[in-house]
């Protein structure tokens, strides 16, 4: 194999290029990125960068050593089609990149509302999105966040810190309900309330008001919330449309085995776009976690090069973190509907705690911690060793 193309230039793409070199590949590596920016770190976009506490330079992912990777960067060009047998990637300027092997790492994008929206309505996924939103979050600005998932709750926290008036609208009864369940979601509700952010649980957006600029939102129960700025944080979807009809197996992202291999030889996938088989849950799962985008490429790159790769056991345990109102929230593992949760350490309304999720068979499957980094690290490894 002499030429490998990595499609995607964010954390998973850069990590793939690094992993290929680490595994000894000395051929040509081309990395294609749809954004014009060099790889940058996305988690700070809703936190330190949005708050103005981190600069573009602070969130740059490439290091000085990365020059030694000798990557051919093709930035500001999106892949539009793939000829799998020839491994040709077509780009949106009509050019073609030929390779012997491919890493698909095109990530995900923010889900948007189906209709066109007035000015002042934002999503947050990219650096450009973050710049645009940052300009609008002036002290006293009234912000309505649609969606109480991670991106929505983090933006609510950051905006409150900037002196904005914040309302959060979500169909669920508590924030982060899908991931954390009702009981621990309620702990997050109280965190928002203590910081002056108003939650509107069980509410759905009916209509965005104002034209050409947004002036508020109307909910399905008829209530209206005034707004100077609206953020739509309703999840992300994998960037895989360009692969439709290519023969690469798609199902909520790119289907791969545990090593990142797709159904087509010499084509692997990694990061947010990969619906990979997970040994931890013994089922395929698409993860949008930062640590997955950091670690999975090592396995995928090894598989592409026909090498064995053994990752530390705890890397198999899905992990994410969130920073809200100065608190560090960490979750590892997986919560299923049959799980019960108990507080193992601390007090949910005190200065930090750790809670363990246990499935119907009495086996711990997940752990949540707020400001309990040390115990959390131990639990994450305990979950890795539970089999």
């Amino acid at each position: 194999m002499e030429r490998i193309t990595v499609v995607g230039a964010s954390l998973a793409g850069l990590s793939s290029a690094r992993a290929l070199r680490n595994h000894g590949f000395d051929g040509r590596i081309t990395v294609i990125g749809a954004e014009k920016h060099a790889p940058y770190d996305r988690p700070p976009l809703s936190k330190e960068f949005l708050a103005g506490d981190a600069s573009e330079d602070d969130i740059r992912l490439a290091e000085d050593d990365d020059a030694e990777l000798e990557i051919d960067w093709v930035l500001g060009r999106a892949a539009t089609a793939l000829a799998p047998r020839e491994r040709h990637v077509l780009l949106d300027d009509g050019s073609r990149v030929d390779s012997d092997g491919l890493v698909l790492a095109t990530g995900a994008r923010a889900r948007t509302l189906p209709e066109s929206v007035p000015d002042g309505v934002h999503t947050l996924r990219t650096l450009d999105d973050a710049h645009a939103l940052r300009r609008e979050l002036a002290p006293g600005a009234r912000l309505v966040v649609i969606g109480a998932g991670f991106i929505g709750t983090e933006i609510a926290s950051t905006a409150a810190g900037l002196g904005c008036e914040v309302d959060v609208v979500d169909a669920a009864t508590v924030p982060l309900e899908r991931v954390l369940g009702a009981e621990m979601g309620a702990v997050c509700s109280r965190l928002h309330a203590r910081n002056g952010v108003r939650l509107h649980p069980g509410s759905r957006l009916a209509e965005l008001l104002g034209q050409p600029r947004v002036s508020g939102v109307r909910l399905t129960d008829g209530r209206e919330l005034p707004a100077d700025v609206v953020v739509v944080g309703i999840g992300a979807q994998p960037n895989v449309e360009w692969l439709e009809g290519s023969g690469v197996s798609l199902d909520d992202g790119i289907r791969t085995d545990a090593r990142g291999r797709t159904n087509i030889p010499e084509i692997v996938a990694a990061g947010d776009c990969a619906n990979a088989y997970r040994t931890y849950t013994a089922a395929p799962m698409r993860l949008e976690h930062w640590t997955n985008a950091l670690h999975q490429p090592a396995a995928s790159a090894a598989a592409l090069l026909g090498q064995e790769h053994t990752a530390p056991a705890h890397h198999a345990v899905p992990y994410f973190w969130s920073d809200q109102y100065g608190h560090k929230i960490q979750f590892a593992g997986h919560r299923t509907e049959d799980c019960t949760v108990h507080v193992d350490e601390g007090n949910p309304d005190g200065d930090g705690f750790l809670a363990v999720y246990t499935n119907a068979h009495g086996s711990p499957t997940g752990v949540l911690a707020i400001d309990r980094g040390r115990s959390f690290g131990r639990w994450r490894r305990r979950l890795a060793a539970r089999e």
Partner: protein
């Protein structure tokens, strides 16, 4: 010199955080004591809460690994090293001698500033 505590309170595999000019993390690796800056150079996290793996500590938040002997990260996400500090033991009591020299990068930056000034 900063008093850390009694060795008996810091068994192998354990770590503790003490306050110097900045917070310092002290580790007992199988009887050998190491001290580094407590705050991860990647993002705000306390390395004394990290996971000890051989002679390296993994940041509790984003899994950056630092060599306790050199302060160097082994790869992403951290780019800059943490400072290392000398540790001494007298009569079962642990002390840390805070480095006045900052990490290599900071020294280079300070030198550059000095040159500009002069």
């Amino acid at each position: 010199m900063i008093f850390v505590g009694e060795l008996s309170d810091l068994p192998p595999g354990e770590s503790v955080r003490v306050e110097g000019d900045v917070a310092i993390a002290v580790f007992n690796v199988d009887g050998e004591l190491h001290a580094i800056d407590d705050t991860c150079t990647h993002q705000d996290a306390s390395l004394s809460d990290g996971w000890l793996e051989g002679c390296a500590v993994e940041c509790p938040l984003h899994a950056a690994c630092f060599d306790l002997r050199t302060g160097r990260p082994d790869g992403p996400p951290a780019k800059k090293p943490v400072r290392t500090h000398e540790v001494s033991l007298h009569d079962g009591l642990i002390y840390v001698h805070e480095s006045t020299r900052a990490g290599a990068d900071t020294v280079a930056a300070a030198d550059a500033v000095a040159e500009e000034v002069s």
